[in-house]
Symmetry: C2
Subunit: 232 residues, 2 copies
C-alpha cells in the first residue's frame, strides 16, 4: 500500500512529461489516471474584493490543469511539508498545512511562483488511490525572479520587474477559467450531465487585466459567447 504523498509525487512526475503537444486527450488521460470519476477540485483564496471559492467538477478538471499551462506556465508541481495521512473505511486523506504549488513562467521573464496554503486531498482507499476531492486553500504567494536581472535594469525597469504576473499565484487565464466553469457548471450541469466541456465558451485572458474592478464588473466583462476560448 503506497502512501498518499507518493501519489502526489507520481502526479508531479506525470506533469513533467507534458509537452507543448499535449492535447485534450493527454489531459483526459492525466485526469483519468489521478482523479475518480466523481472527483471535485476546489480552490479557495482571497482577492482584493473578498474571499473566493471555486469548485471544478470532474469533466472540467482536465481543462483546469490545461488552463494553468495556457496561462504561460511551463512547469508545475506540488511540494508538501509534513503532510499527515488519515485512513478511513473507504478513503485515505492527506492533510498538508504547508503545501506549495510551484509554477515556472517564462514570460515576460523567468519567474518561479510559490503559492502556499493548505492542501486536503481525499483518495479512494484501493490500489489506484484515485483522488475524490482536492481542496487547496491558498494563503499567500511569492514570486521569485533571478537576482541577475536586477543588475541589468534600465529606467522604468524597476516598475516592470516589481509587478506581479499572478494574483494569489494564479494567472488571469486560470482565474477566468475558474469563474466561467463555475458559472457554467451551476447553469448547465443540472440540465445536462453529458455536456462536452470542449464546447464551452470561455473568455479571453485579457478580460481580467483590471485588478481593481469589482466582482460585478468582472462578471459583466466575461464574454460567454462571441469569442470562444481556444486552447491551441
Amino acid at each position: 500500500m503506497l502512501q498518499p504523498d507518493y501519489k502526489i509525487f507520481e502526479m508531479n512526475k506525470r506533469l513533467q512529461q507534458r509537452t507543448d503537444d499535449s492535447d485534450n486527450l493527454w489531459w483526459d488521460a492525466f485526469a483519468n489516471e489521478f482523479f475518480d470519476d466523481e472527483a471535485q477540485l476546489t480552490l479557495t483564496f482571497c482577492l482584493e474584493d473578498g474571499p473566493k471559492r471555486y469548485t471544478v467538477g470532474r469533466t472540467l478538471i482536465p481543462r483546469f490543469f490545461r488552463s494553468i499551462f495556457e496561462g504561460g506556465v511551463t512547469e508545475l508541481h506540488w511540494e508538501l511539508r509534513h503532510a499527515k495521512d488519515s485512513f478511513h473505511q473507504n478513503t485515505v486523506s492527506l492533510d498538508c498545512d504547508q503545501a506549495t504549488m510551484v509554477t515556472q513562467h517564462g514570460k515576460p521573464m523567468f519567474t518561479k511562483v510559490y503559492t502556499e496554503g493548505r492542501l486536503i486531498v481525499e483518495f479512494n482507499f484501493d490500489d489506484l488511490l484515485r483522488i475524490r476531492s482536492w481542496h487547496f486553500a491558498i494563503r499567500n504567494h511569492r514570486e521569485l525572479i533571478p537576482r541577475s536581472v536586477i543588475a541589468m535594469q534600465e529606467p522604468g525597469m524597476v516598475e516592470t520587474l516589481s509587478k506581479n504576473i499572478t494574483r494569489q499565484g494564479l494567472t488571469a487565464t486560470t482565474l477566468n477559467y475558474l469563474r466561467v466553469s463555475n458559472e457554467v457548471s451551476s447553469r448547465i450541469e443540472p440540465l445536462s450531465e453529458g455536456v462536452d466541456p470542449d464546447t464551452l465558451p470561455l473568455p479571453g485572458a485579457q478580460t481580467l487585466t483590471g485588478q481593481n474592478m469589482s466582482q460585478q464588473q468582472q462578471m459583466d466583462n466575461l464574454d460567454f459567447g462571441s469569442e470562444p476560448f481556444q486552447f491551441q
Copy 2:
C-alpha cells in the same frame, strides 16, 4: 521493489525533518539510513580558476550535509526531471541529466538557489537501496529573490541585491568543508582509517570571501590548526 527516484523523494522528506537542534547524532542517522558504509560522494564544478573535483568519504558525509545548513541554508531538496534507471547485478543506478539541488537561504534576504547539473547515483540492489556513490556534476546555478524586494530598494541596494551569495550554488562554508576534507582525507586516511571526523580542524567561512584569489592563495589562507571550525 521501489524505484530509485523514490529513495531520493524519501531523502527529501527526511531532510524536511531536520531542525536547528539536529546534532551530529541526527546527521549520522541520516547518513546511515541513506548511504552504504563504503559510500562516496563526489561533486564536480567549475570555479573562476578552473574545474574542481571533490570526493567525500563515508565518515565525512554527515558533516558534508551539515555544512550546507551551517552555511545559512534553511531547506534543501533535490528535484529530478526525466531520471533514468538501469539495473545491474548488485546495483541500480539513477542517471538524471536535469537534476536540481534546491536550497533556501534566509540571510541576508530570502533566496532560493537552484543548482543544476547531472546527478548519477548508484544504489545497492536490495531492499534498503542504500547509496554506494553519489556524483553531482554541477553545470550552473541560479539565485532567485522575491520580486517584492525590488520595489523597496534604496541607494546602494542594487549592488547588494545583485550579488550572489553562493558560488556554483555552494556556500563558502560548504566549499571550505570540501577543500579541507579532501585535503585531510588525502593526508590522513592512508595513515588512520579510524579518525574521528568531529575532531578535524576546519577553517572559518570568512577565509573564502575573496572571489578572485588564485587557488594557491586560497589554499594558503586555509587555517588547518589554530581555529577549529565549530558547528554550533
